[in-house]
């Protein structure tokens, strides 16, 4: 099936007709180069920045007092830090899925959303990375996680999933940053050539590394980009798999299951697409990018959410089934405890948010309605956060010995840190849309019919 029949089948085009190389370039680069920052932008950035400051305050106080200011106690030693870490890492996964996996699958509609989805990945991974570091209790010793020579001559313990996590997440952050930057280089060259101000020209000039669009350069560039996509694909699948090993390798009931890796990866993509939509819907409206981020993108993202949401639902079903069929009384109790225990309300909310409400995406009208999608995505993000809360807290709070049962209540410092990272994430997004082209200009040019050549 060629590109054209595919477009007719899917109805809405990837890019509205009437655009040329010039108009695509102008429209995207003008957002960065000429459009003045509005009051609404300053207000939004200001709020996000204040939340970031609140996070820094909470972390500063944590460094002063220690993790005792959080709700974590024995037996629940993981609490918000791990819940938020897993949530943020999961959100990042959609960016890599869009930029790498959809590139390999030749889904050219990804070209208009990959850039900011990748930016979202980077910022989400930065937010995630904060939590394990501050959770170690003595953050000045966090470098012990890396295999660096030290005065005790001892090395990290490579049989531990937590070490695997260090390598998986730091590799993921590095590769995502490289992938994003390399994708930006030709567009930075466009900004360098388009900007009229000497300083911006110099800054974009330095960042663009002197890109000049030579045919030889493009050839190596495309090879490297494709190989990076090929490397990022197994990487992204491995990252959430390794995150799930943090749980699955332990013997705690509710964690020790083989379904965890696939169901974590599906959940990651599920929440990531929800975040992509929550960002894309207001951005395309505010910056008038409906020509580039069309109904087709919304619809496709909604379908991905529907599919991954069903996989997540299957995961819940199998957890319940194995709790009953496995015959292990502790596993069976964990399932019962989820449904009827002290955290039953969040568990039922999780089922409503992740499984029941998203089923409305079967309705075509809602899949193409930006307002409806925005709210459904919000519901999914809440649901996925609750899922991680349930996994971490419910399994830990009642394990094998009744004498060691307990409850977990997050404190205001937990909430301030968590909400603060959302602020940091949004502040980074606000800066990104003003300083860098949020849609890949050169990849948009290749979507235009004029770009096609015959030999």
């Amino acid at each position: 099936m060629d590109e054209q029949t595919q477009t007719t089948l899917n109805q809405a085009p990837v890019i509205e007709p009437g655009h040329t190389f010039g108009t695509v370039t102008e429209k995207i680069s003008a957002i960065v180069l000429t459009r003045p920052a509005s009051n609404a932008w300053f207000l939004g950035f200001g709020i996000a920045f204040m939340l970031t400051m609140m996070m820094l305050f909470a972390i500063g106080y944590l460094f002063l007092k220690g993790t005792g200011i959080w709700g974590v106690t024995v037996p629940i030693g993981w609490g918000f830090a791990i819940v938020n870490f897993v949530w943020w890492i999961g959100i990042g996964h959609a960016g890599t899925l869009i930029s790498a996996i959809l590139l390999l699958l030749r889904q050219s509609w990804r070209n208009s959303i990959n850039r900011f989805a990748e930016a979202m990945t980077l910022f989400a991974v930065s937010c995630a990375g904060i939590f394990p570091l501050i959770h170690v209790g003595r953050p000045w010793l966090a470098y012990w996680l890396f295999p660096l020579p030290n005065s005790m001559k001892v090395w990290p313990q490579f049989r531990s999933p937590l070490m695997w996590d260090v390598f998986a997440v730091s590799t993921y952050a590095t590769i995502s940053a490289l992938f994003w930057f390399i994708g930006l280089v030709p567009d930075l060259a466009t900004l360098r050539d388009r900007s009229e101000n000497r300083w911006t020209r110099m800054i974009y000039g330095i960042l663009s590394l002197g890109w000049r669009g030579s045919a030889r350069h493009w050839h190596r560039y495309e090879t490297a980009y494709l190989l990076l996509a090929g490397l990022a694909t197994p990487l992204v699948l491995s990252v959430h798999t390794v995150v799930s090993f943090d749980f699955a390798v332990g013997v705690v009931p509710g964690w020790h299951t083989t379904i965890f890796p696939p169901y974590f990866v599906a959940g990651a993509i599920y929440s990531g697409f929800a975040m992509v939509l929550m960002l894309a819907i207001p951005i395309r409206k505010i910056y008038g990018l409906e020509d580039f981020i069309t109904e087709r993108h919304l619809q496709n993202s909604a379908k991905v959410m529907l599919a991954t949401g069903l996989i997540v639902g299957y995961g819940y079903l199998i957890e319940g089934f194995m709790g009953w069929y496995g015959g292990d009384r502790y596993d069976a109790f964990t399932m019962w405890n989820r449904l009827h225990g002290p955290y039953a309300v969040p568990y039922w909310m999780l089922l409503i948010c992740n499984i029941f409400i998203p089923q409305v995406l079967w309705i075509r009208k809602l899949r193409t309605s930006p307002v409806a999608l925005f709210f459904i995505s919000g519901v999914i993000l809440v649901g996925m956060w609750l899922e991680r809360f349930i996994i971490v807290v419910v399994s830990l709070h009642r394990d094998f010995l009744t004498s060691s049962w307990g409850m977990y209540y997050p404190t205001r410092w937990d909430w301030m840190t968590y909400i603060g990272t959302i602020g940091m994430f949004l502040a980074a997004i606000f800066l990104f849309v003003r300083l860098l082209p949020m849609i890949s200009i050169f990849e948009m040019r290749t979507l235009l019919p004029e770009s096609e050549v015959k030999e």
């Binding site: 010039g22 990487l235 096609e452």
Partner: protein
């Protein structure tokens, strides 16, 4: 060796098709040291300007192999040779546990090789380049397509090459000072 004051002669085209046709004709006319510039990658253009050996995949393969070996060797040496610790009764060389970090290191080294290998082979970063001396070249990152014949080409002759490029129906032809 004295440098030629002229780096090459550059022709500007309106479309990707015009550029690829012109590159083909120029190569067939016997010019070997040529290059083409476009605002997006054009399939087959690199072959038309005489580029056939892309070394990036080899660099990535070598990077990946080095990364994998480094990852495994590091874990083996640290856990089984330099400071063996008995943890949970597992053998010091617990190879199944080492596979994940080996995999991650393979990806990390291969990815870094892909990016930096590509940049090094392309001779980037290079903020100044003679082609930027042509004012119209700023459009090469927007919607124009350029073809250059370098003055180092054996067949290069200022007047004749210019005439040849003009015969390809370009939008403009300009000399590139070096």
């Amino acid at each position: 060796m004295k440098r030629d004051p002229i780096y090459g002669i550059m022709a500007e085209f309106d479309s990707a098709q015009a550029l690829i046709d012109a590159a083909k004709l120029t190569h067939e006319a016997g010019y070997k040291k040529i290059d083409a510039y476009s605002p997006f990658p054009i399939e087959g253009l690199a072959e038309e300007v005489g580029f056939h050996h892309d070394e990036v995949p080899l660099v990535v393969l070598i990077g990946g192999i080095i990364g994998g070996l480094t990852g495994y060797a590091m874990q083996y040496w640290m856990s089984a040779v330099d400071y063996p610790l008995n943890i949970g009764g597992k053998p010091p060389h617990s190879w199944p546990s080492f596979i994940i970090i080996t995999f991650e290191m393979t990806i990390l080294f291969a990815g870094i090789s892909a990016v930096f290998g590509m940049l090094a082979l392309n001779g980037l970063p290079m903020p100044y380049h003679p082609v930027f001396n042509v004012p119209r070249f700023a459009l090469a990152s927007k919607d124009r397509f350029f073809l250059i014949v370098f003055s180092s080409d054996k067949k290069y002759n200022p007047a004749e090459t210019r005439r040849f490029l003009e015969s390809l129906a370009p939008r403009s032809v300009s000399e590139v000072p070096s």
